[in-house]
Subunit: 202 residues, 3 copies
């Protein structure tokens, strides 16, 4: 139930973020749908491959695919309204999606009995997969590797879940809300980890 709700918010949000990146790159209608779809489900495919869940479970998510397709169609039909006004909402949904995927990855890795630092790695990899693939397909350097301070919140999820400190459903909900708020604050106040800006170019 928990993940159903998270997914029904997160998946369309990821799909919309992919569709908007396709618009920005002037991709065609096909590219819009592919990029949205890959962003929404690519992270899940990578997570399933990495933690040993059958990838074909993807195809059981018919309802989520429908939700993603509807969300992308709205972007396709009204491409010019996705300006600054909507951007904060996108960031919000994106944060929900990222956090939900990260928590899922952390839970899976923790359940199999991995030590803490392995859980943290699994948390990060499963959280950022979709966005990284989206940026690669758009011909961009992955934004999350350059300028977004998502790392700290991902690691926080990994620590809280991987140490067994947070395990109850209400605790995970609280963690999710906290991470989403911290993520929104870090975007708003431009918190970042870009400590290597002065590194000499090659």
């Amino acid at each position: 139930m928990l993940w159903d709700i998270l997914n029904i918010i997160g998946i369309p949000a990821f799909a919309i973020s992919g569709a908007i990146v396709a618009l920005e790159e002037k991709y065609d209608l096909f590219g819009l749908y592919v990029l949205g779809f890959v962003t929404a489900f690519g992270g899940g495919v990578i997570r399933n491959v990495l933690i040993g869940i059958p990838v074909t479970d993807l195809w059981k998510q018919g309802n989520l695919m429908l939700a993603a397709l509807i969300a992308m169609s709205i972007v396709a039909l009204f491409p010019y309204v996705w300006g600054n006004r909507w951007r904060k909402w996108i960031l919000f949904f994106d944060a929900v999606g990222l956090s939900s995927f990260a928590i899922q990855g952390a839970l899976f890795a923790h359940k199999i009995g991995h030590p803490l630092y392995v859980v943290i790695v699994a948390t990060v990899l499963t959280g950022i997969g979709g966005g990284v693939i989206r940026d690669l397909l758009a011909g961009r350097k992955p934004a999350i590797l350059r300028e977004e301070i998502y790392a700290i919140w991902c690691i926080m999820i990994g620590v809280c879940v991987g140490s067994g400190w947070i395990a109850s459903e209400i605790g995970l909900y609280t963690l999710l809300v906290t991470i989403v708020i911290l993520r929104m604050l870090s975007v708003h106040y431009h918190w970042n980890l870009s400590i290597y800006r002065k590194y000499p170019s090659v």
Copy 2:
């Protein structure tokens, strides 16, 4: 038998298209073979992962690998003849490969009993995989997401196969020939879905 014939045409064609892209990017001899190989077999690997076929089936395709290696070696030995004169033949073989992969993906997804829109998604993803990986490895934005009207024909394959409307071998052959012809026509007449060209750049 059907897929054997399709593969023996499609795989070397994909390999040649990858090898030519490597030439255009001034990659070295190694890059030529890697790009050709990845284009020819990358789509199949993605398809197998996504629809649950063992990826190691790849290594049973010794004959196809030999065919791909021979095709790439011809490009490597005679790099300067692959100009405009040959381009149409490449497009033709590429269309055969793409259509064959898309039909295979559609058949697999349909057999497992997925609803129509899932079949369509599987059709598209399995059809375009190799070409997208090729373009990423060449440092290009995937052409198929930007300017090629392959989408409509992919979706048409998904609809025809996923609805159960076309199931006989003769029907699938006819579908393949039709899609290849439509694909060639759409390249010749520059049909496209680029409806977002005026979207503001970021």
Copy 3:
């Protein structure tokens, strides 16, 4: 024992090479760790997928992950010392990692009874995976496809192992040392396969 030693040298070396590329691209602290981790383990994941080993074996490599994390942390703490003085050491460790992965891939493919050219393909694909993913995530064209003469040594590994000519542990060690030396020499003397530099640009 053999592979334990190779991995404990190769994995941190790959991690360091990824972390340095992240520095050069001015990625943030998060990007540094992600790129290092992906370079170190991405090749192994691709190899496991391609030759049918459970990908989740990745998570049993806790010690190697710790080694990679320590190596990356050293780069993160002292980012400005990784100039030309260290570059040769990086190349050396990178060569050890690449050769070790290539030999592993060749052994696996040979054991399953594949013909020689399939072993060669498996050797190459498993050897270069991590570096190619690293370059893609850094927004670069994969260096190994353009200017590095790693191909010949990879193929040599494939031939020696795939033909059954080298099978003993001492033989494999000798092969590894030989390939590492040849690799260092080819970098030092700028041997390359770039025979298509005059190909017309598109």
